[in-house]
Symmetry: C2
Subunit: 340 residues, 2 copies
DNA sequence: CTGTTAGCGCCTTCAG
DNA sequence: CTGAAGGCGCTAACAG
């Protein structure tokens, strides 16, 4: 590895002191035009690149933020990460990315690694179950601004960005109710996950509000499990006429299961899902969903973090922002819609 | 921001010298059990975290790699990035991620930023058109191992990981031919993109091999444009009976366009796409695709990079690895298949 | 086995 | 407007 030029090499070539080079680069003080030109020429000649590691150490400021998500192959998370990366670039910051695989231990280790790297702040989609304590509550993270995305960190005082989980689920359920359904089943992943818990609650409340009895099937993230649960539901005595799927994965698994059983919503059973996806309107009929604004969520999280980095005074009280969701009616719910 | 403990604070508390602390942390030399215990106790007490920035500067080694992709919301790229992040974690490396939005200028700037941060290597999905020079050929990148993913960097001597683009396209085309189609049209994005160019060539060769005339529609990445092109194709005198879509985006846009026109493959027109996607088998019928092994691609890229980082001797000659693709027959091509 | 010295590349501070 | 000295936190090299 060819040793790259240092500031002192530039200084020597330009016949100035190292400080003049530093000042030219940072614009931190006025430098005579003649000297500045010489410095630029030397920089050009040597292909000089400032060493950001040394700068970070000296300035006690890394110009890096961290992003920590469970997976990247979930389009919702990927979309968030993408826009955060874009915002960071606009601020001339680098992004350190890591994945926790929904494992709190990994989340802790990766957040610690980022802390050791002196990232100035962290945007995280927390992985710990609702029932447990977040590993990010550890003392050592006190010094770093953290923004929780999609799921809050209870008792942390961190900023958080959420969507209307409960209202969204109610919206979807009420839509099915308005179409005349009375036996609507909820299908989701473990209620340990914040989003699942809230959506489940939204469904329950909507059902109870009209005096109906909620029915739930909680699946693992495996496709097989969904098939079993769906089969059970649809062969029960009081077989549901509509299904509410609590997230993207569930919706997909349920659709697969229904396909296996030869059932195509809304024939046989109506269906509404939480979280939109690329091909939702390519399916026949299109899938009616509650859409969450993933890009806006990511962008806002980044904005909140950078605003906090800009504020030297550290307001301790984390602000929780909740973004609205939207019902997109396609065909799977059984509503008559005019195709464009 | 509370100033965090330094190594010297630990040393003082433990009543040893700073070097002893360093040695305990690195296991770089034997330390008496008694002292080591004291050091650990002090570390625990102070919640000491080693400063990786200082370490990077001193060791001239950052333990970071960079990933530079066009977008993260393309599931193929996201999948690559995810597994690279996983491999990096296993090596105890951090990942600096950035997105180029398919813009060579942005790619250059972000790669430069990573270089300034002393990332030890870079995995990149290059954004420059086939016709142009890669910005990564600049001298300053000579000192950094680069692995090109999905698309090569001509004349670079970098390692590259590709899939069988040409053969995959031929495979898809031949499948349609074997089903009796003679008028098969190719639909893709600009041939300036390496993958598009190769797939287009594969299609052309397959057609010409049986004496048929290739027909191509090159679309922009906008949905509207696809609709126009598809409409043109299907209203032409010698209207194609089958379509070969060269990537994920094209497939989706063509399906949307066909839906708008009230055509549902394989009725009216057969369809095969390059690159599999999550819901390809949920559509009715399922979409026949050429699948590329995105996870394997990402993992292999990471392995290649880390192997190169491990090798102190720098073999200059970059090796090009080509991974196989696979035809997944579903229903959209019109082949009779048994549904599971 | 443990400690001291020096310096990675840069920027803040203080002189000139 | 420019330069010289010092140190950010850590580890390699050399003493003892």
């Amino acid at each position: 590895m060819a040793k790259s030029a240092r500031m002192i090499d530039v200084a020597k070539l330009a016949g100035v002191s190292i400080m003049t080079v530093s000042r030219v680069l940072n614009g931190s003080a006025n430098v005579t035009d003649g000297l500045r030109d010489k410095v630029f020429a030397a920089i050009e000649h040597l292909s000089y690149q400032r060493n950001e590691v040394a700068r970070s150490l000296r300035e006690q400021r890394s110009r890096q933020i961290g992003i920590l998500v469970p997976y990247l192959f979930d389009p919702f998370f990927a979309s968030c990460a993408h826009v955060i990366s874009t915002v960071a670039r606009q601020h001339a910051y680098s992004v350190v990315l890591s994945t926790s695989n929904e494992d709190p231990q990994t989340e802790y280790e990766e957040a610690s690694r980022m802390l050791r790297r002196n990232v100035e702040g962290l945007i995280v989609i927390p992985s710990h179950p609702q029932t447990g304590q977040s590993p990010l509550l550890a003392d050592k993270f006190k010094s770093m601004p953290i923004v929780a995305l999609d799921r809050p960190i209870e008792g942390s005082g961190f900023d958080s960005l959420l969507v209307e989980n409960q209202r969204g689920a109610a919206l979807g359920t009420e839509h099915l109710l308005s179409l005349g359904h009375k036996r609507i089943a909820y299908i989701g992943l473990s209620d340990d996950l914040y989003t699942m818990c809230m959506r489940h609650r939204g469904y329950n409340l909507a059902m109870e509000a009209v005096g109906l009895k909620p029915v739930a099937a909680i699946c693992s993230s495996a496709l097989d499990d969904a098939l079993v649960k769906v089969r059970e539901l649809l062969s029960s005595k009081r077989k549901p006429t509509a299904l509410f799927c609590a997230n993207n994965l569930t919706t997909r698994h349920v659709l697969h299961s229904l396909q296996t059983l030869g059932i195509y919503p809304p024939n046989g059973v109506a269906l509404v899902g939480f979280d939109d996806f690329e091909t939702a309107d390519l399916l026949r009929p299109g899938i009616t969903v509650v859409r969450q604004p993933s890009e806006l969520l990511g962008r806002t999280a980044a904005d909140v973090l950078f605003k906090r980095l800009g504020d030297s005074r550290k307001t301790k009280t984390g602000k929780s922002t909740v973004l609205p969701v939207e019902l997109i009616v396609r065909g799977s719910c059984g509503a008559r819609i005019r195709h464009k």
